[in-house]
C-alpha cells in the first residue's frame, strides 16, 4: 500500500461508524483516538464470526468447535509476537488492557520483590494507570515513588534518573513510550540502557505508541511491556502484558482459578505453564480474535506508513492551529519526537466549553485531564483540549477543527 493521503482516505470505507452523521447532520470528525479508536468491518466481522460459527471455551474440550476457538485464540498470540517482535510466545499474557497489565506487575511481581526503602520511578507525564498501582504498592511496602521531571518542551529530564539510580535503591523504572497528552515519544532506549547498567528493571507502557509506530520489544530491551487492543482498531477489554521469561518465572500468580492451575488439591495447588499461569478463568476469546484481526489490518497497511501519515497530519495540524490567535499548543514542536496527539488551550476558554461548542460541528475531541493529573499540575492547568489522530483522519478533519474554533471565539467574544 502506498503512503499517500488518498490511500488512507480509502480506508474510511472500512469503518461503518465513519459513515454516520452526528448532531445536526454533520460529518463525524473523530479526533479522540488516543482514548479509543474506531473499528473496521474486518474486526467487527471476526468477532461476529466467532460467536456465530465457533463459539466454545478454549484449551480444555476436545470437540471440533473448541479446537477452532483455541486455534484462533492462540493465533492472535503469534500475531502479537510478530507485530512487536517478541521471540517467545510464552511470555505474552492476555489481560483486559494496559491498566490491568500494570496492576498485574505491581501485584504479582511487586508484592514479592519490593521491600521497605525501595524506590520505584515513574515520570511526570504518566497516565494514572502507571502511577496509582505504584502508589498502592509502595504505600503497602513502605517503599517510595519518585518522578522523572519533564522540561518545558514536554521531554523528560533524564538527569533525574541518574540521580535516583545513584541511590542504589531503585527497583523499577516504569514509563510510557508515548505521552497520552503531549504525544512526546520517550527516549526509551536511553532509559533502558541506564537502568541495565544499574541492574534495574524497566516497564514500558506502550498503549499510545504501539498503535502508531513500529515498536520492537526485543530491541527496546525492557523487562515488562504493555499495550491495549482498543487503541489500535481492536475491541475493548483486551490487551497484552509481555514479561521477560526469567522474571515471569519469579512472579506469583495474579488471579487464582481455572486454567491457571496444573493440579488442585484440598490444601495445595501447582501452577500451569506460562503464560496460562497468569490467565485465570475463561478468557475474553471473542475479543482476542478481534484483536488478531486488528493486527492483520494494521500489518497490511504497514506501521511505517501509518507513522508517516500521522506525521503529515500532525505537521499540518500544528501549522494550522499555531495560526489561531490565542491558541496554545503543549509539548514539543519537533515532529520527530511526537506522535499524532495535540493538546491545546484556547485563550482562557475552558476545554469543556471548547469541546461542547465544537461538538455541534460534529467534532469529537477530548477535554479534561486525560487521566494525567500529575502532568496537569506540572503544566499548571486544570485541563486541556486534545485532538488525536489515526489512520482514517484526513486534512479535511483538521480544517473542520480549525474552522470550528472560530465559533468558540465568537461565543466567548475572543
Amino acid at each position: 500500500m502506498q503512503s499517500t493521503q488518498s490511500s488512507f482516505e480509502n480506508l474510511r470505507k472500512d469503518f461503518p461508524i465513519l459513515q454516520r452523521t452526528v448532531r445536526d447532520n454533520k460529518r463525524l470528525v473523530y479526533l479522540d483516538n488516543a482514548s479509543t479508536t474506531q473499528k473496521p468491518n474486518q474486526v467487527i466481522d471476526a468477532i461476529n464470526d466467532y460467536y456465530r460459527n465457533y463459539n466454545a471455551n478454549t484449551h480444555r474440550a476436545v470437540y471440533a468447535l473448541a479446537e477452532e476457538s483455541t486455534a484462533a485464540y492462540e493465533a492472535t498470540r503469534d500475531k502479537i509476537a510478530n507485530f512487536v517482535n517478541i521471540k517467545d510466545r510464552q511470555e505474552i499474557i492476555f489481560v483486559r488492557g494496559t491498566t490491568e497489565a500494570i496492576n498485574l506487575v505491581a501485584y504479582a511481581w511487586g508484592r514479592p520483590h519490593i521491600k521497605e526503602g525501595d524506590i520505584i520511578i515513574t515520570t511526570e507525564y504518566e497516565h494514572h494507570s502507571n502511577i496509582v498501582p505504584w502508589q498502592l504498592l509502595t504505600q503497602e511496602k513502605g517503599a517510595k515513588i519518585e518522578y522523572i521531571r519533564m522540561d518545558d518542551n514536554g521531554e523528560l529530564i533524564l538527569d533525574d534518573l541518574d540521580k535516583f539510580l545513584a541511590t542504589g535503591k531503585v527497583k523499577l523504572v516504569a514509563f510510557s513510550l508515548m505521552s497520552n497528552v503531549l504525544g512526546t515519544i520517550t527516549d526509551a532506549e536511553k532509559i533502558v540502557e541506564k537502568c541495565k547498567a544499574a541492574d534495574v528493571l524497566t516497564l514500558i507502557d506502550g498503549a499510545q505508541a504501539v498503535p502508531h509506530m513500529k515498536v520492537d520489544v526485543e530491541k527496546l530491551g525492557c523487562d515488562f511491556f504493555a499495550f491495549s487492543g482498543h487503541k489500535m482498531l481492536g475491541p475493548t477489554g483486551i490487551g497484552v502484558l509481555w514479561v521477560r521469561k526469567s522474571i515471569l518465572e519469579t512472579m506469583s500468580p495474579f488471579h487464582g482459578g481455572g486454567d491457571m492451575i496444573r493440579e488442585v488439591h484440598k490444601y495445595e495447588t501447582t501452577w500451569n505453564d506460562l503464560p496460562y499461569k497468569f490467565e485465570a478463568g475463561t478468557p475474553n476469546i471473542a475479543d482476542v480474535i478481534g484483536f488478531g484481526a486488528a493486527i492483520d489490518y494494521l500489518s497490511k497497511i504497514g506501521m511505517e506508513n501509518i507513522r508517516e501519515h500521522e506525521i503529515e497530519l500532525t505537521k499540518y495540524a500544528i501549522e494550522k492551529l499555531s495560526k489561531v490567535k490565542g491558541l496554545h499548543i503543549y509539548g514539543t514542536k519537533d515532529i520527530s519526537k511526537r506522535g499524532g496527539v495535540i493538546s491545546f488551550n484556547f485563550a482562557d476558554v475552558h476545554p469543556h466549553d471548547v469541546a461542547q461548542i465544537i461538538d455541534e460541528e460534529g467534532i469529537a475531541v477530548r477535554s479534561g485531564h486525560h487521566c494525567a493529573q500529575v502532568l496537569m499540575e506540572r503544566l499548571d492547568v486544570a485541563a486541556t483540549s486534545r485532538a488525536s489522530f489515526y489512520i482514517y483522519n484526513t486534512k479535511e478533519d483538521v480544517d473542520v477543527l480549525v474552522n470550528s474554533l472560530n465559533k468558540v471565539a465568537e461565543v466567548f467574544k475572543l
Binding site: 476545554p351 469543556h352 466549553d353 461548542i357 479534561g368 486544570a382 465559533k407
Partner: protein, 147 residues
Amino acid sequence: MSGNADIYHEMIIDYSRNPVNYGEIKDHDVTFHDANPLCGDSIDIDMKIDDKKVTDIKFHGKGCAICMACSSVLTEITKGKSLDEVQKIAKDDVLSELGLEHLQAVRIKCALLSLKVLKGALYTYLADHLKDSEDVDKLKEEAANLY
C-alpha cells in the same frame, strides 16, 4: 448555533468572564473544597457565618464557563440567607436561574459542583459548631445524591 451549544448565552458568558463573589475570605468561619474527578474542575467556597446567617461568601477555583457561572449565581443566592434557607437550596434553584434546566447529563456535574461544595461547607460548619448530627447526616446524604 443549535442544540447543546445554546447553553452559551450572554449571561453564562458574562458570569464566566466576570465571576461574582470570586476570591477568598481570609477569616472565614468555614471553607470547603471539592473537585470533579471526571474533568479536574475544582472549587473552594469560603463563608462567614454570624448568628446562623451567611454574611459573606466567596468561591475560587478552576472550572468551565458553566461551572463558573453557576458558582457565581449560587453565591449570590446564598449570601444573606439563614443556614436553614441555605440547606433548602436545590439544584433547580441554580439551574433555572441560568436557563440550564435541560443541561445534558455530562455537563450537570459542571453546573452543580459548587452546590456540592456549598452543602459540604454547610455540614462541616454544622458538625463543628452546632453538634446537630441529624442535620449533618441529612446534608451529607443530600450532597452525595446531588448528581
